[in-house]
Symmetry: C2
Amino acid sequence: MFVNLNAGPTKGPRFLGELGKLSQNEIILSEFRYRRGAEIFGEAEPAEYLYQVIDGAVRSYKLLSDGRRQIGAFHLAGDVFGLENGEAHRFTAEAIVDTTVRLAKRASLANVAEQDVTVARDLLTMTASSLRHAEDHMLLLGRKTALERVAAFLLEMDRRLTAAGVMALPMCRRDIADYLGLTLETVSRALSVLHDKGILGFVGQTQRQIVLLDRPKLGALDL
Amino acid sequence: MFVNLNAGPTKGPRFLGELGKLSQNEIILSEFRYRRGAEIFGEAEPAEYLYQVIDGAVRSYKLLSDGRRQIGAFHLAGDVFGLENGEAHRFTAEAIVDTTVRLAKRASLANVAEQDVTVARDLLTMTASSLRHAEDHMLLLGRKTALERVAAFLLEMDRRLTAAGVMALPMCRRDIADYLGLTLETVSRALSVLHDKGILGFVGQTQRQIVLLDRPKLGALDL
DNA sequence: CGGTGGGTTGAGGTATTTCAAGGCTCGTGG
DNA sequence: CCACGAGCCTTGAAATACCTCAACCCACCG
């Protein structure tokens, strides 16, 4: 499925500035809304826009020819994604739940960066931040056990989206598994273990809302 | 082990410009030589310099508390490493063999980037290039089989260092294993399989010089 | 020439995957 | 209002890819 961005942004161009850390400027911005499951852009498609999540959640992933999937990152409210230096996207991005994003035309961004050093610096900062995440994730994928991966995931999500003591995960077990390089069953089992050990609790019966009861013990697992 | 850079660079400062894609400029450069196995910088150390491999090979890695190691990248002649936006290094870097590097002071680089847009752009390009590599490597670590990983490794090294038909690997099996998220035995077995299938051959008896006999078959394994 | 640092190979163990079954929630339509 | 199916999650049992442990070989070097 391909989302036609030209048909797109219903709210029309805006000039609100500040896309993430980007400074106020004559950068063309607009907002767009994607339904749960909708593709925002596809791997290898020309990278026309840069995106920021206003509300909702996005997964970006790569596929192997036989369908194996690796999610490289989850993007939550405030996160910028679609950062490319080349001409094409290197991930497919999909809305995990109904999601609002803000878009900035890369071409206009590049122009502004030529003049305005702060914009150039912000682009570098955001790219470096993605790099740091990817580097940490390589360690997780290459060397951590299933339990350690799930513990690290919970701490990451706790940091990024916990409100009022509970984290409401937007993504399903399969997404978590494809992020952690595991199967959904292994993720489920690891969560059960942590639950049985009294390290986490579920609120509601959807299994998507988690409360961390023993952060120190979780941290001990996140080597 | 800690390499004291102040005691350091024997050849004295130079002004050769062009560190990787960096434009000619008043950036302070110097060269330094590291012995096989020597640490160039350590994880979490303040990041004072940016590095470029002139000759030799470098591994950068992260360690878990119990010694498990994940090598994030190998840096070969021409590669720039030590790219940080923050204040501290996020990897430990070691010379795999005797290695000559060129150094640029990050502080001076940052100054120049404020004035010269091309330097800023080059920094972004290099960071984006590291990011692309890390993203591809996440897919490998998260979702590929041992044979696929080794095949991908061989193709990467073939692309980056094959001369006159043979690739002379600077790194040992353990390094390869820690790069691919495997054990050295599994790497060795995978290489044996590829050898038995006639896909690759060894030249000399050190097992470090490899010639690819059937690139198409290797490519078929690199999904 | 003995020791050390790679490298290979075999046999057995195990963490994780695969396959399978069952439960719960929720939306939809009869 | 209830039946029904779809989606999501958990749990068990069996399979397996990879790891661990161990032996051995070879090249190199003081």
